[in-house]
């Protein structure tokens, strides 16, 4: 189905996979149930002199017609549970997180996103961290094919870090730093939005994620460390 | 009631028990929130927080409430014997003890806490504090303390009013079953305090 956005992260395909699995299982059940419903109604409409059958559904011979489908529903549920738990574990459980190459701190603030990169020492949360441009003019730059650890937090109220093409979102909470990881698989410029209501201008809290090649990223970091104004060619 | 209905459990008793169940869940929300904060912040037990509460006064108050429950049980027994005068006098004892509890709480304990600089919102004291400092967590303790003791005090007031009106209503010897209902509610008020007391005062 083409309604899902193009995948830009290594996990998006897995997440979409959950969608397709559920879609097909649930789609079949939907069609079958709706078919049974309409069949039941249209074959049982009132006829002149007709008489309804007295079926209570209390014995197995009758109730097996719903118990057997129910067991099938239960088995489908388990299948979905397993698949969704696998994807969830891969994306969210901290111990399963792959070794990361880069770190970046992302702060949600009414009504903008701020990004902080490690300074010359290469470590985040030290004195020389560099926050790029205040407001919405500084964009989040990530290298393609490398794993970046996102340190997410908020300055005032709840926000939610949501990049459609990455396939996931994460609420950001003031006073707490949550970590997620992303491995972009495609270069390009995609939208970063806030998906948790955060005040009157929630609707305008938008920024960009720019996925660039390794060389471009290296020069971006170099410029950042040498204090030059961030100048990236917009595509 | 006509013979339409088959009385299983007397409906008044059933109604009050359901009300008590609902109240327990409301208090459960406060208590669970407090426990979560308490587990996270050992500072709640520090000298400026729980340590600044007067355990002796708290214990006296607990005893007062326990005795008031005993007098309420006696009032119920008297009501079962249809002894209106005895039931009324025990209900008056209960009321006096309930008001004594409130008097100590509002007349002595809270003013003492206020004089030590504790209020439900200690925002002025913590305005210049760094996030995560001990003063802030202590102030959170006092917010919970005033919230929960205040909410419990409100229940003492409501429970006392109920007992008072039930007492007026049984004068002619009718409606004696209401003594049991008022008593059941009063036991809830006691039960909540018995949970709050160790949580707020004793765990330091």
């Amino acid at each position: 189905m083409s309604f899902l956005p193009e995948a830009y992260s290594s996990v998006a395909a897995d997440i979409y996979g959950v969608f397709y699995l559920i879609f097909y299982i649930v789609g079949i059940w939907f069609v079958v149930t709706l078919g049974a419903l309409f069949y039941g109604v249209f074959t049982s409409l009132k006829k002149q002199g007709g008489k309804a059958q007295y079926i209570t559904g209390d014995d197995w011979a009758q109730s097996k017609w719903i118990w057997i489908p129910l067991i099938l529903v239960f088995m489908c549920d388990l299948l979905i549970d397993v698949k969704t738990a696998n994807v969830w574990t891969k994306v969210e459980i901290a111990e399963k997180m792959p070794q990361n190459d880069y770190d970046v701190k992302i702060v949600g603030r009414q009504f903008q996103w701020e990004f902080t990169y490690p300074g010359p020492d290469g470590k985040l949360f030290t004195e020389d961290d560099i926050q790029i441009a205040d407001g919405n003019d500084g964009e989040l730059v990530l290298p393609v094919g490398k794993i970046t650890k996102l340190h997410l937090t908020a300055a005032d109220v709840l926000h939610s870090f949501f990049v459609r093409e990455f396939g996931f979102k994460q609420d950001v909470i003031p006073g707490r730093i949550l970590t997620r990881w992303v491995e972009p698989i495609k270069e390009g410029r995609i939208e970063l939005t806030c998906a948790e209501i955060c005040g009157p201008n929630h609707g305008t809290m938008r920024n960009w994620v720019k996925v660039v090649s390794q060389e471009e990223f290296n020069s971006f970091i170099k410029n950042l460390n040498s204090g030059k104004k961030v100048a990236m060619a917009t595509k | 009631m006509s013979d339409v209905t088959i009385e299983r459990v007397p409906k008044g008793r059933l109604g009050v028990w359901l009300l008590i169940a609902g109240e327990i869940v409301i208090f459960g929300g406060f208590i669970a929130s407090y426990i979560l904060a308490r587990l996270e912040y050992p500072e709640f037990g520090s000298k400026e927080a729980a340590g600044d509460l007067n355990i002796v006064v708290g214990t006296v108050n607990t005893l007062i409430l326990l005795i008031s429950n005993w007098t309420m049980v006696k009032a119920h027994e008297a009501a079962l014997e249809k002894n209106v005068a005895k039931a009324k006098s025990f209900m008056i004892y209960t009321l006096v003890l309930g008001l004594l509890f409130l008097g100590i709480k509002l007349g002595y304990e809270w003013p003492t806490d206020f004089s030590h600089g504790h209020t439900i919102s200690s925002s002025k004291a913590i305005a210049d504090q760094a996030p995560g400092s001990e003063v802030m967590k202590v102030s959170l303790f006092w917010s919970y303390y005033f919230l929960m003791t205040g909410f419990h005090g409100l229940h003492i007031v409501v429970g006392s009013l109920v007992i008072f009106f039930v007492m007026l209503g049984i004068s002619g010897g009718q409606n004696l079953h209401r003594v049991e209902l008022a008593g059941a509610y009063w036991h809830l008020v006691e039960l909540v305090w018995v949970i709050l007391f160790p949580m707020l005062y004793l765990i330091q």
Binding site: V41, W88, D156 | G15, V25, Y144
Partner: protein, 562 residues
């Protein structure tokens, strides 16, 4: 029975203690609020489809006004329309009648419940008039935003109380207190005042479901009442329960909210299923299939409802391992509902179905709720929810559960019990026309949103023009279609209004039992007098003995006939 005594105007029409009249008070209040909530929806949908439109009485929406409308739309539809109609209104009407009782167990408490509810409605309306307008922080009231918005920390507590956010929190807390008292009445009446001979399994499914809903409500609402009080104190007394800068925890509120919030969904849904479980056997002339198991499964789902709440918080920053547990329980809850669904469908097989208006609405519920039910699996699955959470997919999903429950099942109930309540039949032609237009409007509005939601359109955005992907032609078209659908849905309700007025004044006289139904309410006169039954009925059998071969001469067997 001292039932037929004279009543003054005030005690008959205002402070009535008659359960049927209180039911009407709840229902009418709920319908008025549903209409207000619907107009709010039309207003903000208009802004979405045609940004910058000058909307009558409201003006051009900015972010604040837009947030205010969506916040209060949800609040009104859930707490001032869904609950009063489906729980309080329906419960008050059917419980004593179906049990063969003369009134509720505590009629005065019942009156008090309604008037406390009325106070909450007044508080809600006052919240719009407060300085700065109504609450605008989302209906879930998440702090820290909702602990701050409109609050001046240096002002005294009365100033902060007189703000939209504080008044709304107060209104919600008062409303819950009212429903709590009403719920006590329901449970005591159902346990204590059943007709002679009526065993628990002879109690009709709808009464069972309303009581299960009540239990769900009473045992889940406590934490939210305490949570709401703490949020109110954060606003007016400047406490820091939810303020991370002062040691508080914003996620705590989410747990307190959703511990209630999820059972609350079943509070609305279970009565709706109960309504359908009454109407389908009546119009199919067949017993409710495996009725005993339907009750058992509904009870199971009412209990599982207490351990699924965190599926609303998968992406909120809770422990990921916890999310896996809640994902499993959420998907498993589909099993009892699948059973009930299959059983209701099986009830229709080999029956003699007559599609009168109540049956049409019930069938509408089944078809549309199925869409809502199966899409719930997508949201309940944590691995996918991290993408579709807070998108229009979720919006479409819960409108496909709540509109079938509140509108379709609620209107099925209205058409079904209207003859009993007023003594006159509702107009079939108008009713069917209303059904079809409502269905078209509803599906036009809700179905396309699944697609824009899948594309990642996120909710509560007053103007999408700053989002390039969201300005694609097909998404804009979806917004237009959805908005026109919502307008049709709202406009269609005029037909309902006309139908109610026409039928109540000049409808065909109904007689005692127009649908040839088994349950005890049809033994009473239409409308039943104060005190309900001339002679107290006794109960000899279950409520679904239709077309029983042991009964000769008629295809139904009322519970009170030997």
């Amino acid at each position: 029975m001292s039932a037929h005594h004279e009543q003054s105007f005030i005690s008959k029409y205002v402070f009535s203690i008659d359960h049927k009249y209180i039911a009407k008070q709840y229902t009418v209040t709920g319908m008025i609020f549903a209409f207000i909530g619907g107009l709010f929806a039309v207003a903000f949908r208009t802004q979405l489809a045609w940004p910058g439109t000058n909307i009558p009485f409201i003006g051009v929406l900015d972010g604040m006004k837009y947030n205010m409308l969506v916040t209060n739309h949800a609040m009104i539809m859930f707490f001032w329309a869904g609950m009063p109609i489906l729980l309080a209104g329906l419960g008050n009407f059917v419980i004593p009648l179906m049990l063969g009782a003369d009134d509720m167990a505590f009629p005065k408490l019942n009156m008090l419940s309604y008037w406390i509810f009325f106070v909450s409605a007044v508080l809600l309306i006052l919240s719009f008039m407060a300085p700065g307008g109504g609450a605008a922080g989302g209906w879930t009231m998440y702090p820290p935003l909702n602990a701050q918005q409109g609050v001046d920390p240096d002002a005294n507590f009365l100033v902060n109380l007189w703000t939209g956010g504080s008044l709304l929190i107060l209104a919600v807390a008062v409303e819950f207190a009212s429903m709590l008292l009403g719920g006590i009445n329901f449970l005591v009446t159902s346990l204590n005042m059943r007709a002679k001979g009526m065993k628990l399994m002879d109690v009709p499914a709808v009464v069972w479901m309303i009581n299960l809903a009540t239990v769900d409500f009473m045992f889940s609402v406590g934490p939210l009442i305490s949570g709401a009080v703490m949020l109110l104190f954060d606003r007016i007394f400047n406490t820091g329960f939810y303020d991370p800068a002062r040691g508080g925890d914003p996620i705590l509120f989410q747990h307190l909210f959703w511990f209630f919030g999820h059972p609350e969904v079943y509070v609305v849904l279970l009565p709706a299923i109960g309504i359908v479980a009454e109407i389908v056997p009546t119009f199919s002339r067949k017993p409710l299939f495996a009725s005993r198991w339907i009750i058992i499964m509904a009870t199971a789902s009412a209990f599982i409802a207490f351990i699924v709440w965190a599926h609303h918080q998968f992406v909120a920053g809770i422990d990921p391992r916890m999310a896996e547990f809640f994902s499993i329980t959420t998907i498993i809850i589909s099993v009892p509902f699948a059973f009930i669904f299959f059983a209701v469908i099986a009830t229709m097989f080999k029956g003699q179905i007559e599609v009168k208006t109540p049956m049409l609405w019930a069938l509408g519920f089944l078809v549309f709720f199925l869409v809502g039910g199966v899409t719930g699996i997508f949201n309940g699955s944590a691995g996918l929810d991290m993408y579709i959470h807070d998108t229009y997919f979720v919006i479409a999903h819960f409108h496909y559960t709540l509109i079938p429950a509140v509108f379709f099942a609620g209107l099925a109930a209205l058409h079904f019990w209207f003859p009993k309540a007023t003594g006159r039949m509702m107009n079939e032609t108008l009713g069917k026309l209303h059904f079809w237009i409502t269905s078209i409007g509803f599906n036009m509005f809700a179905f396309p949103l699944f697609f824009s939601g899948l594309y990642g359109e996120h909710r509560r955005i007053f103007n999408y023009s700053s989002y390039q992907p969201m300005m694609a032609d097909w998404i804009i078209n979806i917004r237009h279609v959805a908005t026109i659908g919502a307008m049709i849905l709202a406009a269609a309700q005029v037909l309902l209004f006309i139908n109610i007025i026409l039928s109540a004044t000049s409808g065909e006289k109904a007689g005692k039992n127009p649908w040839k139904c088994n349950t005890l309410e049809w033994v009473a006169d239409s409308p039943p007098p104060h005190g309900n039954f001339a002679t107290p009925p006794s109960c000899y059998r279950g409520p679904y003995e239709y077309s029983n071969p042991k009964r000769s001469g008629s295809d139904f067997w009322p519970q009170n006939e030997q």
